[in-house]
Symmetry: D2
Subunit: 161 residues, 4 copies
């Protein structure tokens, strides 16, 4: 397998809870996205957690960092909630791992008709295979370097600093 | 605008013709795909033609080549039918243009529920922004160099030679 | 117009709130559903409210009842949240209005890929045009008389008593 | 089972043929539609054929008629191509079977994002359960009696005579 895909949850993987009408985590939809895209890249998926990124702890970030360090693959894709995705990117960059790491999320969960999830995963996967080692973020059809990106919460999109 | 997007048609942009139950070209769906992906990359779209790639002529390929040479942008995305996409990639590579050119298509038109179009456009757009100048093809979640790719018609997917 | 369509909200019309990741009401999706179904039945739409049915008050039910009584049409479709749809059906039946009234909702909002909304609106609209005057509920592909239906919350479906 | 569902094919059940880019029949999507609608009506499905209605022969119509006569259920839903659905409705009406028969189709196959299939099946199923014995056609959100309907090919919709 040439690519490692680490799942941590975030908006992209939220599902509808019929019993209370809220969104929650049940299972990941990423394999479904890859299948819809008829993906043939060799990807080894590892689910670290399924969490809202606002609830992500230091322990969670250590887990993600360890998974990046330990992976046999030097190309790593990470799904992540958008609220703290920049913070996690920074914490990974601080480790100076000699691998290409791309973090990606979605503004609208995959289960909605108007979700940006499939597009975003595509952008991230395409960029991952071509980028030099470092830590990046793929959102809004753009590739951001970890030290030059911020989430504009009012617009609901990511921007360069 | 930092990216040029040349539309030539292909399966990705075919639509349903209600009057005869066949597929035909009406208008492109690529702007809709970019909107669903909440794209904020600067992309200048130019529609060269909307053709089945089996009907593409030498004159059409000259038109595509000229558009690549003439574009102010050095990053060019081209939508193209999958049947002759490799041939067009080769003809563009022969020009030795010092730009990054990524060709992309789909096995199933965008208008179908199970289409690979949104994912493929994402992969191509992500790769385009990170790749060195040359000619590439983005399909099946992979980035192929123009001289190392073939369409396996039986499997309906692209493979390295 | 031969059919009156009263909108009251409910799960069927909930939308995704990107700023907090919760579901809320913005605007109705019912016209979109009718358009997708290429509907040509004459339907006059009146939006009474967009509410979660758990928050529906006696005053709201009086409003619905008044709209039913006042409508020029003798065929009335009502969208409603599923949690108290049976209670509203009963309150309308108590009025003995000589019109055909069909209440309908959804277990999953229209904006989700796996929503039952389009199917349910279809079932309700088809039944409405054929049923004798009284009050009915259309869910799960079935037509229930108002006095013979209950929501099984565990299964998330409606059943005869 | 209280409802018999006879499948004959038609636009509603056409699928995309990746090898030649045309539409063809592979398998029915009707069970998928009923599942999306969370249907709990007892429906016994019988697939008589999967044919474009322009290719339907007298022998095919005899097969449909026999299936209607022989069914234990007195409520029968028939999926059918729209080009000759009116002709089949007339041939069934001539049999004077004492059952409620509703024919239904779609202008756009279920596999397309903008298909009217789910809505139409809903309308037909709702009407079927409420109509008196006779032969009907459900399209465009309307219920037509077999002797008062024509397909307007220019508009792509069904109308009263």
């Amino acid at each position: 397998m040439s690519i490692k895909l680490l799942l941590t949850g975030g908006t992209i993987d939220k599902a509808y809870n019929e019993s209370n009408g809220e969104l929650h985590f049940v299972d990941t939809h990423i394999p479904e996205i890859l299948q819809q895209g008829r993906n043939r890249s060799e990807i080894e998926i590892e689910q670290l957690m399924l969490k809202d990124s606002l609830e992500m702890t230091e322990a969670d970030r250590h887990l993600i960092a360890a998974a990046c360090s330990d992976s046999k693959q030097d190309k790593i894709l990470i799904t992540h909630g958008t609220d703290t995705i920049v913070a996690t990117a920074k914490s990974l960059a601080a480790l100076n791992i000699d691998k290409t790491i791309v973090l990606v999320g979605a503004m609208v969960p995959y289960v909605f008709k108007h979700s940006d999830a499939v597009f975003n995963i595509g952008v991230a996967l395409g960029a991952l295979q071509a980028l030099q080692p470092s830590v990046y973020l793929a959102m809004n059809g753009k590739i951001f370097h970890w030290d030059n990106v911020v989430k504009n919460k009012q617009l609901g999109e990511f921007q360069e600093l």
